[in-house]
């Protein structure tokens, strides 16, 4: 069909077939006032603001319902039209509160902009108050200040036409008409999906997002999908949850692989900041995103992501990456795709760093880690094992760029008498030995010093080796640094906990540890200036815990020295002389950092994101554009999500923990993953916050050329 040609206030414009006069005019930059119309919703013609006159026809007609046909002559401004609009607005204002200054939509309110545009600031009509305004206002996601409702019906259409949920409608009670659910049941009971499309289209402050539910320090588009906003790598979480729900596991993994090359490992070990952002928390509890990731990874047999994404031409530039942990390997993966010739120098004989050697087998199975490292090697990254790089400067001489991603591979010991005895180890050494199958002299009983997650990883590993484990830490009870579940897991497996205890010294001879001398503390802190421990001991509480060995889980260091050729701070971290702080840049041109060597011991996902940023930075340094974003799966957002009874109550699925007595006998994962039903159930709990990104913003009068 051909485009129609018509005139609006004497201006000739053209319209798409089937387009309304309102939309044709707006597309042509000519403003016609409107409130009930929205670019993504079917017209309803109930605000009566978009009225126009048509040459040759009596009366006025709503332009949102008037087809833009050839030869039509439309007038949008006349005193009769102004009068009609004024009355229409006054009808809305009669029931609308005057306390705009206490409304959070102030200055982002289409009604306020309309008042400004038409100059009709209040109603001559009697102030009306609805008794139905207080109905159904209480829910944790959508703030409903219904006294602000002008009954434009956008929310009703968004719920029905956009989402296929259809739980909102115009209700009648006595002589009042109001927007509500059938029977005025709460949104949850009505089967609401809490997608907040109704909030997105509301032109006033009647429907608002619960205050504080989104971060206000981020761009709006980013903030409204809080899981992705919280994820350091900004993975497209709603997209992959949808795919998991549909059983399309390989595509789900492809979505994750757009941002991280270790989805399966993360499915085991990620600290899941996404879940702390999840909007569903306000309803009952967050979606179990991490476990779903593990579930999908286990079922990714097709590897649909293979061979997809960008592969730039070879640049001929050589990049050395020091350290084959999550940061180094991620950077290497992208730098190779960007066309550079990448060599990873790994000190150990296996790659994977912390993932392979820093956590116990039962937390991240070797097979899983090595498979994902393998894909990176397959993609063309060269890994040289057993390479102890002693000087970044020397390496730089042979490469155009160097990335230092050595992590924090050196365990620290506290300065205790006896710390140099033969059976005293660090957690780093102990866990590495356990993963490599090396034997240490541990005896029958071992004391672990420290209260973080690493201490409990050590304890769990000791128990699986048949060694009795006692954990000693300063913090008491709730104050302990490790995650609750880690503590409970280790204790149920048989670890003995001495929390609120301070160490005095290690008993025995340099040849054989016999015990750890401790006492109870009632309170303690670390001196701000010196970092020294200041404690109040409980009198007469000194005792000796008998043991044959000691493992310190008391922090880690980079192990870097002056000889490495980079300017270091007093804690041994490379510094960027420009900022004076640790960062991606170092004192040597062309030598960069990524991962724990910048941040100190942190989480795998942080290291991965740091590796991505370093790759981008290095590419720009080498003359590239630094662009590493890629799409491995085309997105299909299905906006019609439909109503689901009891959606708000659907409980979070939890992994079942294997019985302590069983799991302590092997190095298999401590919990059993979801079954198929559970995975679908869990993935379908997602509120799909991202759907809202597809709803366009209604433009106000000041954004049009002709107004």
């Amino acid at each position: 069909m051909n485009r129609a040609t018509l005139t609006v206030d004497g201006r000739t414009i053209s319209a798409n077939p089937g387009q309304s006069v309102l939309n044709a005019a707006l597309d042509a930059g000519i403003y016609i006032p409107h409130l009930c119309s929205h670019p993504d919703l079917p017209p309803q013609a109930n605000c009566k603001l978009c009225v126009v006159e048509v040459a040759g026809q009596d009366g006025v007609v709503c332009s949102c319902e008037l087809p833009a046909t050839d030869g039509l002559q439309v007038v949008t401004q006349s005193s009769a039209l102004l009068q009609r609009r004024k009355v229409a607005l006054e009808l809305m204002l009669a029931g609308h509160p005057k306390d705009c200054v206490s409304c959070k939509r102030y200055m982002n309110c289409e009604l306020q902009a309309m008042i400004q545009y038409l100059g009709t600031v209040h109603s001559r009509m009697r102030v009306t108050t609805r008794k139905t305004d207080d109905l159904n206002v209480d829910n944790p996601i959508v703030v409903r200040e219904m006294e602000r409702c002008i009954q434009c019906g956008r929310c009703v259409r968004a719920c029905d036409d956009l989402r296929g949920v259809g739980i909102l409608g115009f209700n009648r009670r006595g002589d009042e008409v109001y927007v509500g659910t059938a029977g005025d049941v709460p949104l949850g009971e009505a089967g609401c999906r809490f997608c907040s499309a109704c909030v997105a289209v509301c032109p006033t402050g009647a429907l608002q997002d619960q205050f504080g539910i989104f971060r206000d320090d981020l761009p709006w588009e980013e903030a409204i999908v809080p899981c992705s906003a919280e994820c350091p790598a900004h993975a497209d979480i709603p997209a992959y949850l949808r795919l998991i729900q549909q059983g399309r596991h390989s595509e789900a993994i492809a979505v994750i692989r757009e941002k991280v090359p270790f989805p399966h490992v993360l499915g085991y070990v990620c600290n899941h900041r996404c879940e702390s952002g999840c909007k569903r928390t306000a309803l009952n509890s967050p979606v179990s995103i991490r476990n779903l990731k593990r579930y999908a990874a286990e079922r990714d047999t097709e590897h649909v992501w293979r061979g997809k994404g960008f592969h730039k031409e070879r640049s001929g530039k050589r990049v050395a990456v020091v350290g084959g942990g999550p940061a180094g390997l991620t950077a290497a993966f992208y730098l190779n795709k960007l066309g550079h010739d990448v060599t990873v120098y790994e000190k150990q004989n296996v790659a994977g760093g912390y993932m392979a050697l820093g956590i116990p087998e039962f937390r991240a199975p070797t097979a899983v880690v090595q498979a994902e490292v393998g894909y990176i090697v397959e993609s063309g990254v060269r890994v040289r094992y057993g390479q102890n790089v002693e000087s970044a400067a020397a390496l730089k001489a042979e490469h155009e760029a160097v990335l230092v991603a050595v992590g924090t591979p050196v365990g620290k010991k506290l300065r205790l008498p006896g710390a140099d005895f033969r059976q005293v180890y660090t957690a780093v050494d102990f866990l590495r030995a356990s993963r490599l199958g090396q034997t240490l002299d541990l005896g029958q009983t071992c004391c672990v010093i420290g209260g973080g997650n690493v201490a409990f990883d050590v304890a769990g590993t000791l128990l699986r080796m048949g060694v009795r484990a006692t954990v000693v830490c300063l913090e008491k009870g709730e104050a302990m640094l490790a995650d609750r579940e880690e503590i409970e897991s280790a204790c149920s497996e048989g670890a003995v906990l001495f929390d609120g205890h301070s160490n005095e010294g290690i008993e025995g001879t340099p040849e054989q540890v016999t015990g750890l001398r401790v006492h109870e503390v009632s309170e303690f802190h670390f001196d701000r200036a010196t970092g020294a421990l200041v404690e109040t001991a409980v009198p007469d509480s000194t005792r000796v815990i008998a043991c044959d060995s000691i493992v310190f889980a008391a922090g880690q260091a980079t192990g870097l020295t002056e000889g490495f050729g980079l300017e270091l701070n007093r804690f041994g971290y490379p510094v960027d002389p420009q900022s004076g702080k640790s960062g991606h840049r170092t004192s040597l041109d062309g030598v960069f950092c990524a991962g724990d060597v910048i941040t100190g011991t942190s989480f795998v996902i942080n290291a991965i994101e740091s590796g991505r940023q370093a790759a981008s930075l290095i590419d720009r340094y080498l003359g590239g554009d630094g662009q590493i974003d890629e799409v491995l799966v085309e997105r299909e957002r299905q906006p019609k999500i439909g109503k689901v009874d009891g959606f708000h109550l659907q409980a979070r699925q939890e992994l079942s923990l294997r019985p302590a007595a069983e799991r302590v006998c092997d190095f298999q994962p401590i919990n059993v993953n979801f079954n198929a039903d559970q995975s679908v159930c869990e993935a379908s709990r997602c509120l799909q916050c991202d759907l809202r990104k597809d709803i366009r913003k209604s433009r106000i009068w000041s954004e049009y050329a002709v107004k």
């Binding site: 102004l82 004024k86 509160p97 005057k98 306390d99 705009c100 200054v101 206490s102 409304c103 959070k104 939509r105 102030y106 200055m107 982002n108 309110c109 306020q112 902009a113 008042i115 400004q116 545009y117 038409l118 100059g119 009709t120 600031v121 209040h122 001559r124 102030v127 108050t129 305004d133 006294e147 981020l218 761009p219 709006w220 588009e221 980013e222 106000i700 000041s702 954004e703």
Partner: protein, 491 residues
């Protein structure tokens, strides 16, 4: 990162920012405005009109107040604690500003008083549709100002807050702004003007700088977005701190947020009795109409609050002969649904409002000392019988005894229109460092610098908040233009 070069960069498109933008463009400057919301007009979209003295409108209405009289009134009232030159320049400019606005097409309904004892300086905007002015009517003026600015070639970036000023030595050379989509704008400007409207929506700043706790002893208008952006950016760039205070008025603890809050006006009539928590009378109730000074009475009391008491016989009287004081902002039948709304307030905000069958019960429910309160009522009723208030000399016309079948008490607490001041400036809106050195290229106007009140809004001269915003915006932009010209001369 997008780069923009302009002569005058203006932060925010409220009344001060728009006035400055138009003035700058009239002086031939290339002007760019960065506004964080999607609409022009800022807080004035809610307001009604500006202050002026000796305007055409006043002269035609035979209003005889002169600039000199207004100036003396202001300086006496503030004990010369405020910048006299700033007051003078603002008052002397104000009549011209009205004409300047009229030339843009703004129509004024007239120059009004806020209450009978005041002066008619409040130039209330005539809504474009010809109806009676009311809240929000100044939004019409904001639209016309915005359109005038566009006509003069001013560029606007909406949904694009400025986030940081750029300083180079002793000069401010531009700013960084951030679009809604996250895109950054690096703006190079010969001069920059801040007009962000204060920090009314920032309870932490109100606590820190004015010692009020929002929701406890302060129930100010929290116009969303007024979080002190301008102050923060100026201070971070090295500006000094100016005097900061709340633009105080009397309010209620959330009760006024109930949709039909017009009924609270029926409570705040001179025939009511006002007591403190101890049950004692503390003021001549006919002072209540000056809401700024009533707030001063209130902050001296326990819990910084007052209790206003009325009876059903008061309400009957109002229904028969009308209330003694009508409200300049809201015109309505103030007693229409009073009973319903008071009931609603009682359940929704316990401790803020009460209805009871006896004065004892009402006082007890509100936590007022019952014994003293009953003594106060007896004394007050005796004064009414004698037609003479020996305590505070309340006008005998308003001495109606507190008797009836129903007793209403509403708690009054300090509120505020917004905040005043924060950025240190000289008399010409040039921003200064803490040690009073010029921060070249940086100017500020409107509520971010308004320091004309010395603690209490001068209600005798209404329209000052918007009046100062418009006039200081104009004056500051004139200074900025002069500064830019001096740069060009040097170059």
């Amino acid at each position: 990162m997008k780069k923009i070069t302009t002569d005058l960069a203006i932060i925010a498109a409220g009344p001060a920012g728009l006035a400055a933008a138009i003035t700058g463009a009239e002086k031939g400057l290339n002007v760019t405005v960065f506004e964080k919301s999607s609409v022009p007009g800022g807080t004035s979209n809610m307001g009604m009109g500006p202050f002026a003295v000796e305007s055409r409108i006043q002269k035609e209405a035979m209003i005889g107040l002169t600039k000199e009289e207004a100036f003396k009134l202001m300086m006496d009232y503030t004990h010369w604690q405020v910048d006299a030159r700033m007051v003078r320049d603002y008052f002397w400019k104000s009549a011209d500003t009205i004409q300047w606005l009229e030339a843009m097409g703004v129509r004024f309904a007239g120059a009004l008083k806020y209450y009978p004892e005041g002066h008619a300086t409040w130039h209330v905007v005539q809504p474009a549709d010809g109806s009676h002015p009311g809240p929000r009517c100044a939004s019409t003026m904001m639209k016309l100002m915005y359109e005038r600015a566009l006509e003069l070639g001013v560029t606007f970036y909406f949904d694009t807050p400025a986030v940081k000023l750029t300083r180079d030595g002793e000069d401010i050379v531009g700013l960084v702004a951030k679009g809604k989509d996250g895109e950054e704008y690096e703006v190079e400007a010969a001069a920059t003007l801040i007009a962000t409207g204060g920090f009314g929506d920032n309870p932490e700043m109100i606590k820190e700088h004015c010692n009020f706790t929002f929701g406890k002893d302060m129930f100010n208008f929290r116009v969303p977005g007024l979080v002190g952006d301008g102050l923060r950016m100026a201070w971070e760039a090295g500006a000094g701190k100016g005097n900061m205070e709340m633009e105080m008025i009397m309010s209620t603890g959330h009760v006024h947020m109930l949709a039909g809050y017009v009924y609270t006006i029926a409570m705040q009539q001179p025939r009511s009795l006002i007591v403190n928590k101890e049950g004692k009378r503390v003021m001549d109730e006919s002072v209540l109409q000056n809401t700024a000074v009533t707030a001063n009475v209130s902050v001296r009391q326990s819990d910084r609050c007052l209790y206003v008491v009325s009876t059903d016989s008061h309400f009957d009287l109002y229904r028969k002969q009308g209330v003694d004081w009508v409200n300049g902002v809201i015109k309505a039948d103030y007693t229409a649904d009073a009973e319903t709304w008071m009931q609603k307030a009682m359940t929704q905000f316990p401790g803020e409002a009460v209805i009871a069958d006896t004065p004892e019960e009402a006082a007890r429910l509100m936590g007022i000392d019952v014994e003293t309160f009953m003594k106060t009522v007896a004394e007050y009723n005796e004064s009414c019988a004698l037609h003479y208030d020996d305590l505070f000399c309340k006008d005998r016309r308003f001495l109606t005894p507190l008797e009836g079948k129903k007793f209403y008490i509403l708690r009054l607490v300090p509120g505020a229109y917004g905040t005043l001041g924060g950025i240190k400036v000289d008399s010409h809106y040039q921003v200064l460092t803490p040690d009073t050195k010029k921060l070249y290229g940086l100017f500020a106007a409107g509520s971010d610098v308004c320091d004309l009140y010395a603690g209490t809004y001068l209600y005798y001269l209404p329209g000052n908040t918007m009046g100062f915003a418009l006039n200081s915006g104009r004056l500051a932009a004139e200074q900025a233009a002069e500064f830019i010209n001096s740069l060009e001369t040097v170059a």
